[in-house]
Symmetry: C2
């Protein structure tokens, strides 16, 4: 059984939270001209911890990927890092051998500016594919960045491409040994929804002391239930990356899988990533509504994930949601082709809590009321398969004419 159990373990939202809400993290950004200048734009940023961090990360599985992914994967495997440099506007992808050289140089530039070791710096890029980074701009830009502990929002803005607003949050909980532990998170893009071949990037920072192996396991598990359950248009990127840094400044005993705080830490990170996932889905290209698809009663969690993602990703379901149409036939179609075990005579369907099909038979519902509910900002589907206790939730958005207009008008 998956799901958000953050409330039950005392996880609370930090007001105005950013990635620099936890102790010991600083960030800052500048505009160096990688993206078209707009009001208040930034496109290059640094994140740094005042102590070495344990680190975990997950990356795109695409066979065509940015050099930054290869470099970060190598460094994350060592389990430690201290800083991050990120740019928006150019993805550093499909540029041949120059890509890895430029990614490495970016980490050296950040290391020199911050006074840390280059091998402890990670790097992410997002933006246009097939264009080399203008390294001279980056060389001069890095030294202009002045990270401080209120700088989280600058980093959130500097990683945006066609995002309409920055996406950031933070939560805290009290460790069993009394310390307050804070986790901040930031994200941009969502899958391949963005016309500049943009990317889903997300970073989390915490002042908890966390064992690197446990952090990696937790990052992977949480990503599978949040970012990997987000579908905007079925496309995924060459640069997708989620990194988590834990610097231990809260002074708690190191959290590992046997720690009494393991569940709370996992729930807190889950909450951060769930909230960011919802923000990403809501900001999907051309989207007018957030869609959530909760599947329960599946033969397994894996089956539930398949069913939920297939329904949330169906163009026909997404179009129906745009039209506020409780078109249950499309849900059944998508369920049927998902590969998840389903027995028609057992399926119950709900739209925003209203049952519209029970045991495989459509039941009369007050159509106008359901249409009215579906006309809001969020449409929640629940599909009960009534086979076993596998469960999962997927996130998506509706498909609108605006999506097509944005993505057909864009020019490489």
């Amino acid at each position: 059984m998956s799901g958000d159990s953050s409330a039950s373990v005392g996880v609370t939202l930090v007001s105005g939270g950013t990635i620099t809400s936890p102790l010991g993290f600083a960030a800052g950004g500048v505009f160096i001209g990688l993206k078209t200048r707009g009001e208040d734009k930034l496109d290059l940023a640094l994140l740094v911890s005042d102590a070495l961090c344990s680190v975990g990360g997950v990356f795109t599985t695409s066979a065509i990927r940015s050099a930054t992914v290869d470099l970060d994967r190598e460094r994350v495997a060592r389990g430690r890092a201290r800083a991050l440099i990120v740019n928006a506007g150019i993805a550093n992808t499909c540029v041949g051998a120059q890509g890895y050289k430029d990614a490495e140089e970016m980490t050296r530039l950040a290391a020199d500016a911050l006074g840390v070791a280059a091998e402890d710096v990670l790097v992410c890029s997002t933006g246009v594919i097939g264009v080399e980074l203008p390294m001279s701009l980056i060389r001069s830009g890095v030294s202009e960045i002045a990270p401080d502990d209120d700088g989280g929002n600058q980093l959130a803005r500097a990683m945006m491409t066609t995002d309409t607003h920055p996406k950031e949050t933070a939560v805290s909980f009290t460790a069993s040994t009394g310390q307050t532990i804070t986790i901040g998170g930031v994200a941009k893009g969502s899958g391949m929804i963005h016309p500049n071949m943009a990317t889903m990037l997300s970073f989390a920072a915490t002042d908890a002391a966390v064992d690197a192996g446990f952090l990696q396991t937790t990052v992977k598990a949480v990503a599978d239930e949040t970012y990997n359950m987000l579908t905007v248009d079925g496309d995924s990127s060459t640069n997708d990356t989620f990194l988590a840094f834990a610097n231990g400044r809260a002074g708690n005993p190191v959290i590992d899988e046997r720690s009494p705080d393991a569940a709370a830490f996992r729930a807190a990170l889950h909450r951060v990533c769930t909230d960011l996932t919802r923000m990403l889905a809501r900001d999907g290209e051309g989207a007018s509504r957030l869609i959530t698809v909760q599947v329960d009663g599946a033969r397994s969690d894996a089956d539930a994930r398949k069913a939920a993602k297939t329904i949330a990703g169906s163009n026909l379901v997404k179009s129906a949601v745009y039209g506020a149409d409780p078109n249950w036939g499309r849900l059944m179609m998508a369920l049927g082709r998902s590969g998840a075990e389903a027995v028609e005579e057992r399926v119950d369907l709900f739209v925003n809590g209203v049952c519209i099909m029970e045991a495989g038979t459509p039941i009369p519902f007050h159509r106008d009321a359901v249409v009215a509910m579906m006309s809001g900002e969020q449409v929640d589907f629940r599909v009960s398969l009534n086979l076993a206790d596998g469960a999962a939730t997927a996130f998506g958005c509706d498909l609108t004419e605006q999506y097509v207009i944005i993505n057909s008008a864009y020019t490489t």
Copy 2:
């Protein structure tokens, strides 16, 4: 290596060909009120052979499927059939146990009208899900149908839902023993593109004598390279069915896998299904352009199929084609996430024959010329992976605002 080798084995197009072009097949249709009456509409049809046929078939793999699929699968497993009854307007899906009873009764009604055995009749339905068939209309309608050997076009029209025109063709070739062998084919819908939860249905009829086992193997292989390579919106239906009937009226020696005519028969069926697949893609909802994606040099044919289908099915690629935008970054992104082995430094990309990327590096191309080529009725992508000799071709269509409008405006 897959592909169309029909030209090399002397397969020729039959002018004005339909499913009743081969000897011994008759068809006819009537309008009984299952779909909204329009000018010249038909919605119930029969196909019958004057001799028992060997038969092959492939069906939707969806877990939620029409009762007709279950019934046909049982009967096709026997390897023989003689007639088919098909209706449009109502899918006979998600109606509980009544669905199978109604499907069975439809075959009995057809059998009585045609004077054949009920177990030799197959049945297909397409249209709205969750509505029971009005059997009284079907009972009286079947007896009004007068199949004749010019009736192929009536069947093609009677199976249409939101198709804008009937889709039918026929080809012939000369057997090694001198007989002329004809294969006629008909299709409707394409995947789940149609708002009424409509279906991809296709039927082929031939006067060749064909071994039932060989026919089944050939139907499966050809469908994998044609209909199963067609993607309009990634959705697939509860009712998808492709059936082939072979009545032996041409008088040729029975074709099996060791027959000297095996390759020609396969090529001829491949040609019929390829032509119908192109017609289906071109008639995709809201589509303005046909897209073909040819992948060669893949590690295996299976890898090539994955890559071609993923590219043809990508909303971002489809939107770019609508905008006549040679956005190669999106092709690389879709290739990368397809699961096919790809090495960036080896990939060549072509748009309508013009190379736009060589060995993973974008090359200068005359942009205006490529945009002009992409503004036509068909856009052909070729992706050479230069790894081995796996090849495949996928078919699709562009994504337009009209698709969204059609599918959000439709009401269950």
